[in-house]
């Protein structure tokens, strides 16, 4: 049976972002039901828990469980919901699609989630580069107010909810939830010491839940179709639901594809409904399965790799934001690693010494090797450098992410590094010369 798209069901429709079309397609029905029946908020968290929904931003933490970390007695403090729309992980572009094409699905998800945790003011933290996204969400919020889905007494239910769009200004680290909260509070986006976790002390020192865009977009679907339906999609009970995969790199048809959680990686790359294989029929050399932070997999490792949290983890990498970047046999791995190192050196927030110093050092050494100026000891230097960065001596997981490419490519593609140092040029180019 063909898989029925639910997250992307409305994406191709004309003017899919307007509220009228959303309502016509059954949108806001879940929110209206909540307003009408006023269920116990904890029952919604329970439903989300039962669905097995795990955070789609990268960490894969169970969403319903996260919500229950809000203290039952907040001692008069307000509770905040913050939508993490800071999508910045290289290779990731699914949230941009949802925001630009189906903003009301995202808003309805926020409304129900806000009700579930007892939030009366929610924020959308959207990265500064998403100019259109911020405009579209602002318009959608205005429309939602116009139709009475937001406000001081929504549809006469006594429920109060306001949603505020807050734009970032260019900083990858603000996707980390505590850095995001610092940025929301008007500070440099530098991660906080944890604990306390945001559910206890988040925005403005109040209990706060931060959820990813795709995660939130799943909530109305779960409310409409039930937790069992959601839990019935996917590879197993720990990896459930529909999932958006971002496919890019050297494939014939890059794009955002929706499939059940656990889609085999090779199907995504080669399937007719998905990537339709490699451009120019080249062979796969390496795949990043979860964005720039995820360790690379070799062509052999993708043979039997379900794209879900546990499936990719079993291969020694991570699903992350489900950003699958495919590299063909003509790719110089050293050059790709140098590109990733450039990203992390640019984006380190500078707070913790191993990361602030380590990221530029990695870039320096990789640049040297790639340019054919590598010293004999350079390749041996990379792994010890990485171990000084990912040994738990930093406040957040940025440093772990920043060495993901090093810890995977140095052992897996060692000959390319050694060739660069020994011959002062690239193995990939050299192979072509031999063939020519």
């Amino acid at each position: 049976m063909a898989y029925e798209k639910v997250l992307l069901a409305r994406i191709g429709k004309e003017n899919s972002r307007a509220i009228d079309g959303y309502v016509r397609d059954g949108g806001y029905r879940a929110w209206e039901k909540v307003l009408r029946e006023k269920p116990e908020p904890a029952s919604i968290s329970e439903t989300v828990k039962k669905s097995g929904l795990r955070g789609r931003g990268g960490a894969g933490f169970p969403t319903g469980v996260k919500w229950t970390f809000i203290p039952t007695d907040t001692k008069g403090k307000p509770i905040y919901l913050v939508l993490n729309a800071d999508e910045s992980e290289p290779g990731t572009f699914k949230d941009r699609l949802l925001i630009e094409r189906d903003p009301h699905l995202v808003l309805e998800g926020m409304m129900i989630s806000a009700y579930a945790i007892g939030c009366r003011r929610a924020y959308i933290y959207i990265r500064g580069e998403f100019w259109d996204g911020a405009r579209i969400l602002t318009d959608a919020i205005r429309e939602a107010y116009g139709k009475g889905y937001l406000g001081e007494n929504v549809k006469g239910s006594g429920v109060e909810l306001d949603i505020v769009v807050h734009r970032g200004a260019g900083a990858y680290i603000c996707g980390e939830e505590t850095a995001l909260l610092e940025s929301l509070e008007g500070k440099r986006g530098q991660p906080r010491v944890k604990p306390p976790f945001p559910a206890v002390s988040g925005a403005f020192a109040c209990p706060t839940i931060v959820n990813n865009v795709e995660t939130i977009a799943c909530v109305p679907l779960i409310m409409n179709r039930g937790a069992e339906w959601f839990a019935g999609i996917g590879r197993n009970e720990k990896n459930t639901g529909p999932k958006l995969y971002c496919l890019s790199g050297h494939v014939n048809r890059p794009g955002v594809y929706e499939a059940p959680m656990g889609l085999p990686l090779k199907d995504l790359i080669f399937g007719d409904e998905y990537g339709r294989g490699m451009r120019g029929n080249r062979n796969v050399k390496a795949v990043i399965p979860g964005g720039a932070s995820a360790p690379m997999l070799t062509a052999a490792e993708i043979e039997d790799c379900p794209l879900d949290f546990d499936g990719v983890a079993a291969k020694g990498s991570m699903l992350g934001s489900a950003a699958i970047v495919v590299m063909n046999e003509d790719t110089c791995i050293v050059r790709a690693a140098r590109n990733l190192a450039k990203f992390f050196a640019h984006e380190s927030c500078g707070q913790c010494t191993p990361c602030r110093e380590g990221c530029p050092w990695l870039l320096k050494v990789l640049t040297r090797i790639e340019a054919g100026q590598g010293r004999p000891e350079d390749v041996e230097l990379l792994l010890p450098m990485a171990r000084q960065m990912n040994n738990g001596m930093t406040l957040c997981v940025f440093a772990d992410a920043a060495v993901g490419h090093v810890v995977s490519t140095v052992p897996k593609f060692r000959e390319e590094y050694d060739y660069h140092v020994a011959h002062k040029r690239c193995l990939v180019g050299a192979r072509e010369e031999v063939v020519a």
Binding site: G128, E129, F130, G170, A203, I288, N339, C349
Partner: protein, 172 residues
């Protein structure tokens, strides 16, 4: 790598908010539990009008929100999108992160640099174009992706870029 800068330039003229901007700021202040939280949106208001954040505006913003200028500088220089000096009318932002890198972004950027005779981070003498190298802007399936000011142009090719630059150069 990020150029280290600790504050923005002076524009040489006093800065004050227009009545319309002040109204927008008042409404912003009602949306947050602290005044400080309005800092990023207020800096955006400055940049929307000026195209950058001059020193004089930093002082006005600090005064308005009850913050020190050093604190505002710290925030301002942390984020890459706030301009610390005037830039060209068209900010050509090239993504060179991994998916765009694999699809020719480095060559595209080099092509633009040659064409305009400036490097990334620089502005043409006629103040028309600035070239900026940016990290992933979520256009990976349409790589190489770029933005000109607040609009995406993707996928980009050297030929399409030549045509775009010619179009933009014609505009007064």
């Amino acid at each position: 790598m990020k150029k280290l800068r600790y504050s923005s330039r002076e524009c040489g003229a006093p800065f004050s908010f227009t009545p319309e901007e002040s109204r927008a700021i008042d409404s912003l202040l009602g949306k947050y539990a602290t005044k400080q939280a309005a800092l990023l949106p207020v800096l955006w208001i400055v940049q929307d009008r000026m195209g950058w954040i001059p020193r004089e505006a930093v002082e006005a913003v600090a005064d308005l929100l009850g913050l020190s200028t050093a604190f505002v500088d710290g925030v301002l220089t942390f984020y890459t999108m706030y301009n610390l000096e005037p830039i060209g009318r068209y900010d050509l932002q090239f993504c060179t992160s991994i998916s765009c890198h694999l699809n020719g972004a480095d060559d595209l950027l080099a092509h633009c640099e040659r064409k305009l005779g400036i490097h990334a981070g620089e502005t043409t003498p006629d103040r028309k174009f600035t070239i900026t190298e940016v990290e992933c802007i979520a256009g990976c399936d349409r790589a190489p992706s770029m933005q000109v000011n607040d609009r995406y142009h993707e996928p980009m090719t050297p030929e399409k870029l030549d045509a775009l630059l010619a179009d933009l150069a014609k505009e007064a």
